[in-house]
């Protein structure tokens, strides 16, 4: 008999629910019916595989995509993508996007009265190496106001999209910065019940990845669902 290894499910409280009254956009978009539990099949343990040759230096250096240097504080964001057992997730695609140093996105919907930067597009992508490592060079994104409630401000953050090895491991998240005073007030950051799960979204200042005289380093490890220990029947 052949067997199939599924992926583990989230521990209670470590992933956000859909409905969060404090996050207004969730009210009319969160599913109201309970989710139907789907044991993983071949459809969920497989997923898109991307070719590494599409990744180039400019894709992971957001400060070198234009003729001039973007404004703001240059930073290195690096880390490892691992599964819950600490195994590296190799050759997997990461996509990032963020506001510029003034807190403005290069997007037609963003009407925040802060300047666009002609030298900063705010997107990049990278593929993890054989140890699951990735590294982006960018500028520290600015905080910005949003319309969720009176005087609402988003803490500085970088959006991350990660595929992992399977449909079941797909993750989109946001990386925050240590010591950001806006974090306690942000409904998005606070959507997750488990405090330590929230704190794992905060990058760690990292001397080791700093480039002397050039850029400070922040470390952000991303953990994807681990593999089940017990196989299911195929």
């Amino acid at each position: 008999m052949s067997e199939l290894l599924g992926y583990r499910r989230a521990l209670a409280g470590t992933q956000p629910d859909y409905l969060h009254p404090r996050y207004k956009s969730s009210l009319k978009r969160a599913p109201a019916q309970p989710l139907v539990h789907l044991p993983h099949t071949l459809s969920e343990i497989t997923g898109p595989v991307f070719a590494p040759e599409t990744v180039n230096v400019k894709a992971c250096d957001l400060t070198r995509q234009h003729s001039g240097e973007p404004l703001g504080e240059r930073i290195i964001v690096s880390g490892r993508v691992m599964d819950e057992d600490g195994r590296p997730v190799r050759k997997t695609l990461l996509e990032v996007w963020q506001a510029n140093a003034a807190g403005r996105y290069r997007h037609k919907v963003d009407q925040h009265q802060a300047p666009l930067d002609p030298n900063f597009s705010g997107h990049g992508y990278a593929m993890t190496d054989s140890e699951g490592r990735y590294r982006f060079i960018t500028v520290r994104p600015g905080e910005y106001p949003w319309g969720n409630h009176h005087n609402a401000w988003r803490p500085a953050h970088v959006h991350f999209s990660v595929f992992g090895p399977a449909f079941a491991t797909r993750l989109v998240t946001q990386m925050y910065f240590p010591g950001d005073p806006l974090l306690p007030f942000d409904p998005i950051y606070n959507c997750t019940a488990d405090e330590s799960a929230r704190q794992r979204l905060i990058s760690v200042f990292d001397w080791e990845s700093t480039i002397p005289g050039h850029a400070l380093g922040y470390k952000f490890d991303i953990i994807l669902n681990g593999r089940d220990a017990t196989p299911m029947e195929k």
Binding site: Q33, L38, E84, H123, I188, K234
Partner: protein, 189 residues
């Protein structure tokens, strides 16, 4: 060592900045085997209003029922020009549309084949994590005994099955309805 999976956060309203590079609404290159099908629909909120800032990701097998992935153990051919992945953002009315080939049947956990289906993730502003659903095909004998459909109460299964359009061969309709009496079935995946 036991780590805990990183918490999901919303894609927000500006995801196209980072995601549009991989947008793909034509999943099959010319010459790829299989029955061509165009699937279109809308993502609708609780008021029936189109969601203009949602993005769908699709994952499917080729017409032989083979995934282009190293863990698909089946001795079936993969096809150049068919990865099986698609990514389609909604437009200002919440509409999406893509063209692909109808996937073949893939193995299920009960020793039977699953009915042909496309695995779907939907991300949007307002959702802290993706919703996961499936698109099945109309008039498909295998739907009746399908493993995943059988997990769903009978009255809601129809939300997972695309509808034919009279007089329009090769066109199917399928909507993603976030709330209400016709709420789409979403899976815990």
């Amino acid at each position: 060592m036991t780590l805990r999976a990183t918490t999901s956060q919303t894609v927000g309203p500006f995801f196209s900045i980072g995601m549009e590079r991989l947008n793909c609404a034509e999943l099959a290159a010319p010459g790829v085997a299989g029955e061509r099908v165009t699937i279109e629909g809308r993502v609708l909120d609780a008021d029936g209003v189109g969601v203009p800032d949602a993005i769908l990701e699709l994952w499917q097998a080729n017409s032989h029922g083979k995934y282009a992935h190293p863990e698909d153990w089946q001795e079936k051919p993969v096809e150049a020009g068919f990865q099986g992945y698609g990514r389609i953002p909604t437009d200002e009315d919440g509409k999406f549309r893509f063209t692909t080939i109808k996937p073949g049947a893939v193995p299920g956990p009960d020793g039977k084949l699953q009915a042909p289906h496309i695995a779907v993730s939907v991300f949007m502003r307002g959702l802290m994590r993706r919703v996961v659903t499936r698109i099945y095909f109309p008039d498909e004998a295998g739907n009746a005994g399908d493993f995943a459909l059988s997990l769903v109460e009978a009255g809601r299964r129809g939300t997972l099955i695309a509808r034919k359009v009279p007089g329009m061969d090769g066109l199917l309709k399928w909507d993603v309805i976030m709330q209400g009496p016709q709420e789409t079935v979403f899976f815990d995946c």
